[in-house]
Structure formats: structure tokens, C-alpha cells
Subunit: 347 residues, 3 copies
């Protein structure tokens, strides 16, 4: 496929600076790009690379100028780049066929153009809406619902009764609806509490590879519209994750915690159970969230504190041995001063 | 199914306060509950909810009183709740059938009522005792033993010669018996040390989703009776985990470490190799255990310290910048005092 | 199989001390070993166990002497041990057969003696070189290349176009080539950036169980020759990991970071994106690497600092409450001294 720069500009709502007739056939990184490629500069410090690139055109902010290079200028160049990548790399067409080596239970309802790859197992009473694609070695328990255009990669397990929305993407090896970690003490041993709730995943959620999202003890574990999780994220039973919230890799969220909308938890963050994290809160990498976090607060450290305080404290930590020595010396000096003064007063 | 409150009380060894003839048909959370439900109050601060609930009866401690509501009173209400949930939500009946699309090796011995779902692969010489259930896409290597009533969810891998006890539950996507991480330095590169031991999992163990439990270099990696692991837990080669120990989500245990009985390691704890953690020890979330932990000790922090010390220290950490400034000022003041005193003495 | 101690010594380039004709039929730990076993002492503190062992011979350093026990002396006893374990426990012979219940796409090219187990799915255009073995429930997307003698354990997903080298081992449940975590902000919501690059894994790499290695946004995520990853490791898009680098369990590496050669990242380390870690650097367990690390530097803590500084600081942390109290007392004392001095001067 080839598009003129002018066509691309119209597609994403950008302005052309320079020759709009230049033909673009693909997208590439600023260093790898060659003739026919469009590339992308987000960070002004890479402007020099923009001059040197072999790309035929560059997506950039309105204030950028690069002599002799056709530019596609727009306020959000990253978003324009994403849309142009999508144009040149559309999601592969699926067959719309239910492979005869897939296994489908009784009473399953199919929309149009559902693609089931070989060795998929679909339990009784499932509903698979239009355009659903399920890759090999996935297992859906009984009475699972999957919304239209949802894509489930290989080796995914979705247990019984879970509800998955429209346009959801689930990456390989992920587990949805495993039992929550619930036991009642019975002397020294533990008695398993049946986990009879579900997981509900709303529209436009994307779940990374190797996630584990437990079903509720009762009720639901709930990922709301637009949530994105990175790889190896753990979400315990009865957690709610609000709309457009981002959970970066290896985050773990304990049971019954409620996370607001547009929250970002960076990599390896851990969250204690039964708390509330407000809308638009942000937690830095490795934060241990040990209590409620108000809306819009930025936190770090363990136990978590305002990010600004954490930055200051953590700059102090390497100075601790020196501080301790200074303190020791001061104690001695003050003791000496006290005794001299005692002498003076006495004298 | 319907049971009278009196019948439930007998089942769990509780006392009825109020009308024992009220019929119960299910369990629900205190807010969601309606007529016919029994609900549950563990925490006295939810007592007000007990008065407002639509539930027909409430499980609670002996000292609780809620006017006009039939109560089921017992010392351990959480355990009673768990048992009543189990009564109303029994584990689904399995077919007891070996699906013809499962693959079974040579010399496999089956107990009665073994259920193998489609696309299960069982290696040569395995033993599957009475009532074992194995879900689709599980792989058992050669000579694996699985004890009676054990349940293995989809997409689980158990490699050769591992031994799994009775009434064990293994959640989806978990790996048992992968090679331990063992290499000998060979110049700059690494030479793989064959991992020829096994994993042994004793009775009544429950293993979460997405766990990785490595086989021993030689001998065994050993999870003793009643161990419970949450999701995404990593257990390295030659680790021993004692009876009724709890490993919460994303815990990692390094090689050859020995964990005692009734230990609790909270979420994201990491444990160094070749150490011993005593019985009944507890580690708070994100603890980095860097050496032996005595029995019954509660630890936190990294490197770990007594939890009480950690609590105090971590309250101090946000004050560090202020402490540093105070220290600076004190140094100046003391220097000034010294020089004044010098003058006075000299004068 | 039986080998004389002399034969084993020749095989690994060691010296025999004592009776070289003793026959060895296996390897065992120093305490479990009996007649016919060779065992191994790396740590001088276990010398006493060497005297007490039932083993017929012991692998040890040249300076070790154990009365009456045939010894195999060599500068790197651990490597010799590894090689002798390999001798007695060779990797199991594979059938070299493509099981008829495996599914193979169109245009797949096979080398000699490729073993595909049942329920393997191989996409169109894949290349599987000589001696490749792929266990049940693995999925390879279209146009994946797998080099000779590579071994892929069950339930592994490798997505389209990824390149896997020779003699690679991939442990169960691992995901190669899942989409990188890339989204462009589009108002409050996120727009998915297609991840159109690949993962390239070079020769002699070993990847643990339950890893997630994301494909590049463009270009490649690249694990170079000899890299070893432990279990549950996450590697984000466009990361490069240099030759012979070791990533211990539960490490997470963020996007576009470049890790040098012979680096070691210990368990649960997290690495921020877009940085460089120099050759031969080492990070202690749970380190949060928040910026570039020079070659050969040893770091710990979060934010990371030189390991030596971290050791000193972390020894100080439990003293913080005491330091704070001392500081408080000193402030009072100094205030008192100041007022006395004021009096003296005024008087």
C-alpha cells in the first residue's frame, strides 16, 4: 500500500509542511528508516536525527522545522504515528471459521465470523459474539460470554461464567477466573472457601501475557472499560479496576481493593487489600501501597508516601552513614561543651 | 437446595439465636443478600450493616446481638461461613470419563472415576488415582503420580517423575518440575547442570495460577501437606516449604532454602537461597529475606529486620530530609558555641 | 553406565588422587551418596561431610585432602561436577517423529529428526531445523524460525516471525513475541500502537518457565548468545540483553533498555526503560535500577546506588528511630547551652 503524505495528513488531521505528494509505503524508526518510510520525532533532543534520517517524511510537533524534509505536523505526534502504523499494519484477517479440531460444548451461541483455531475448547452455554477470534489451546469454561471483535491469544484459560466485553485483547498464557486465594483458619490448617463469583472484563480492555486475574469470592472482580495491563500482573478476588487505568508489568493487587479511573501503577507495584486508590493517582515503580491513596496523588516508596517526599528521602538514604557519624561527633562535642561550661559557671 | 438455620447450625457446630426454622437457600455478601440468604459478619465495625441487610440470617460471633435477625453464633464465624458456602456450592461433579481426544502413554495406571478432558497428554508410566480430574491442555511427563481427588486446571505442565499428593488443587497455567536455574561458570559462558531431581507435592496442597515450581538439581523440591500458594509464585530448586505454610502472590524463593511450618510470606516477598525460615515466622509484603529467620519472628524490610523495628524506621524515612537539615544547623550552632566558649576562656 | 574414576578424570581434565580404578555409576549429593556415587565439595566448610560420605569418590579443588577417599581434583570442581552429571543423565532421546496429531501449516520447512509432540500447532512458513523438539500444546505463529537442537517445553507460545537460535531451551508456559505495552494517549483513553517488530533469540539461550518476552514495537527485542533467564522474567519491547547475561527469577526490564554482556540481575530486580547497563554490571536482589549503570558496577537499593553504599545505608536504617531521638536531645542540649552562654556573656 502507498499513500501520499497529504492523504496521511487528512487521515490523522495533521498539517503538511513541504511536499505533500511524497509517497509513503511504511513506517520505520528514525535511524532504520529509508526511502518511502515515514518516521517520527517526539523528543526535541532527537531533532538532529531528523535531519540525518533516510525517511521520506517525519511526524512531529507543529513547532519543529527540519530543512528540506517533508513534515506531518500535529499536536499529538505520537497518536498520529500510532494511527499511521495501524494503517500500514492492519490486524491480520481471520478466517471466520470454526476449525473442526476445536471442541465446542452444548448450547453455545455464535455470532458471525467467529474464528476458532484448532484445539480450542469452549464449554457449554458459552456466547461468542461477531468476529471473536480464539487461538489454539485456549480453554473457556461453561457459560463464558465473549463480546464482539475480542481476540484471545494462545494458551489462555477463562474459567466458568466469566464475562468478557467487546474489542478486548487477551495475550498468551493469561488466566482469567482462577479461584481467589481465600481460606478460613481451621486450627493450624486452612479450609478452602469456594470462590463462587466471576471476573467481568469490560469493553476495550487489553490484558498482557501471563496475567492471573482471580474470580471473586462472591460477586465480581471487575476490570472496567479501557483498562490496560502489562505482563505478569496479578489481580486478586473482588478487586475493581477503574476505566482507562494502566497496570504496568508485575503489579500485584490484593483482594477487595478498589482502584479508580485513569490510575497508573508502574512496574512491580504492590497494593494491599481492602483499600481505595482515587482517580488519576499515580504510583512509581516498586511502590508498596499500604493504605488509601487520594485522587490525583503521586506516590512512591514503601510504605507509600507523596512522590516528592520519597524523592527527597531517597536522596538522603545514601548519606545515612555519614549523618550517623556526624551525629556521633556532635554528641561528643556537645558533651565537651557542657562540661567546659559547667567548669566556667562553677569557676 | 434449602436448609433450615437449625440444620446449618448442626452442620457447623453453631448455636441458633432467634428463629431456627427460617429456610436458607444460599449465601451472599451482607449488602447483596436478600430473602433466603445467609450472610456473615466477621468485623464488629460492620454490625450496622447487619441490622440493614436483607439476609434471612447472619453468621456471627457469640457476643453479637442484632435485634430481630436470626443469628448463627459460633467462635469462628469465618470458618462456619466457608463450610456453608461449600454446602451450597459443591465442587462440580466430574464425568469420570477419559475423553477419547486425551492422549495416554503406555503403562499408565488409573484409579476409579478419573476424568481426563480433551487434549490432555499423559506420559508413559503415570499413575492417576481415584477421582483425579485433569482439564484440557495439561501435560504430564512420564512417570508422574497424582493422588486421589486431585484437580488440575487447564494449561498446567507437570514434568517427568514429579509426585503430586491427594486432594491437591493446581490452578491454570502453572508449571511443576521445570529445570532449576543451575549453571556452572565455564569461562565467561555457562554450562548447564542437568536438573535430575523432582518436585514432590504432598496432600491438601493448593497451588495458584501461573506458579513456577522448579525440580531439584538432585533430590526433591518439596511442598509439604497443606501448603497454599497464591498466583505467580516462584519456588526454586531444592526448596522445602513446611506444612500449612502460606505463600502470597508473586513471592519468590531461591534455591535450597528451607521454610518451616505455618509460615506466612506476604505478597512480593523475596527469599535468598540456602537459608532457613523457622516455624510460624511471618514476613510482611515486599520483605527481602536475606538470612535465617528464627521461629515465630515477624519480619519486614530489606534486608529484613523485626517488623516492629521496620515500622519505626519506615515512619522515620519521610523525615530524613528534615533530620539532615536539623543536623546541619546543629553543626553550625555547635561550631559557633565552641568559638564563643574559646573566646570566653581566652578572655 | 559405569566409568572408572580415571576415565571421568580424563573426560573433564582433572587429576586423580587415590584409586583411579574405582567404578562410578552415578552422581549424588554429599549426604545422600552411597557406593558407586561420585559426589562434590565446593565449599571448604563441608570438608567434614567429605570424610563422612558414603560416596566412592569426591570432586574437589586441588588443595583438598580427605584421608582414604579417592578424589577427582580440578580447579573448577563445580564445572567438572556439571559435566559428570550430564554424562550420567543425558538429555532424553527424542523420537524424531512429527506426531500426526500435531498441526503443521503450509510451506513449513523441516530439518532432519524434528520431533513434534501431539497438539503442537506450527504456523505457515515456519522453519524447524535439525533436531528441534517441541512439546505438546506449543503454538508457533506464522514464519517462526527455530534453530537446530532447540528444545521447547509444553504450553509455550511463540508469535509470528520470531527468530529462535540453535540449542535454545524454552521452559514451559513461556510467551515469546507478545505485543509490547505501547499505547498513545488519545484524550483520557489509550490508542493501541501495533507492535510490528519481533523477538530474536540467539544461540545457546535458555529461557525459564512463565517468562513473557514482548516483541518490539518496530525492529527487535533481542536476547544475545548465551543469555539465561530464570522463571517469571518479564522483558519489554525493544530491550537488548547482551551475551552471557543472567536474569534471575521475577526480574522485569522496561522497554528499549539495553543490558550489556555478562551482567547479572538478581531476583525481583526492576529496570526502568530507555537506559543502558554496562558489561559485567551486577545488581543485588530487588534493586530498582532507575538510570544508567556503568560497566562492572555493583549496585543495590532503590533508586540503585553502589552496592557498598547500600550495605552501609541499610545497616543504618534500623538505627533511624534512635538517631532521630538523639538528634532531638541534642537540639535541646544545644538550646540550653546557647541560653547559658547568653547569660554568661550578658552577666
Amino acid at each position: 500500500m502507498e499513500k501520499s503524505l497529504k492523504e496521511l495528513a487528512e487521515l490523522v488531521g495533521a498539517e503538511v509542511a513541504g511536499d505533500g505528494s511524497v509517497l509513503i509505503s511504511g513506517v520505520a524508526g528514525i535511524e532504520a528508516a529509508g526511502a518511502g518510510h515515514i518516521s517520527f520525532i517526539a523528543n526535541p533532543k532527537y531533532l538532529s536525527k531528523g535531519a540525518a534520517t533516510g525517511a521520506s517524511a517525519i511526524i512531529c510537533s507543529p513547532e519543529v522545522a527540519i530543512a528540506g524534509k517533508p513534515l506531518l505536523k500535529i499536536a499529538n505526534p505520537y497518536l498520529a504515528y500510532a494511527k499511521i502504523v495501524s494503517l500500514f499494519h492492519p490486524r491480520p484477517q481471520q478466517s471466520g471459521v470454526i476449525d473442526e479440531r476445536a471442541i465446542v460444548g452444548t448450547g453455545v451461541r455464535f455470532g458471525r465470523k467467529v474464528t476458532l483455531y484448532p484445539f480450542v475448547v469452549i464449554g457449554d452455554g458459552c456466547v461468542l459474539e461477531d468476529g471473536v477470534t480464539i487461538y489454539p489451546h485456549c480453554f473457556l469454561g461453561n457459560n463464558v460470554t465473549v463480546g464482539e471483535q475480542t481476540l484471545i491469544y494462545p494458551n489462555v484459560t477463562v474459567r466458568e461464567r466469566c464475562i468478557i466485553g467487546k474489542r478486548v485483547i487477551i495475550h498468551p498464557g493469561t488466566v482469567i477466573g482462577s479461584d481467589g486465594f481465600g481460606f478460613a483458619k481451621d486450627g493450624a490448617a486452612y479450609y478452602k472457601i469456594p470462590q463462587v463469583g466471576i471476573v467481568q472484563i469490560d469493553d476495550d480492555v487489553e490484558i498482557g501475557a501471563g496475567n492471573t486475574i482471580d474470580r471473586a469470592a462472591m460477586g465480581r472482580t471487575w476490570l472496567q472499560r479501557g483498562v490496560k495491563t502489562d505482563n505478569l500482573v496479578h489481580i486478586a478476588h473482588n478487586v475493581t479496576v477503574g476505566e482507562d487505568t494502566i497496570l504496568v508489568a508485575q503489579v500485584g493487587v490484593s483482594g477487595s481493593t478498589s482502584i479508580g479511573k485513569r490510575v497508573t501503577l508502574a512496574g512491580q507495584v504492590g497494593v494491599v487489600g481492602h483499600i481505595t486508590i482515587g482517580d488519576d493517582a499515580i504510583a512509581g515503580a516498586k511502590t508498596g501501597i499500604s493504605g488509601n491513596v487520594p485522587a490525583r496523588q503521586v506516590v512512591s516508596g514503601y510504605p507509600h508516601m507523596p512522590h516528592r517526599d520519597w524523592l527527597k528521602s531517597s536522596r538522603t538514604i545514601p548519606k545515612l552513614p555519614e549523618m550517623r557519624m556526624t551525629l556521633k561527633k556532635l554528641e561528643d562535642k556537645v558533651a565537651r561543651l557542657e562540661s567546659i561550661l559547667q567548669e566556667l559557671k562553677g569557676g
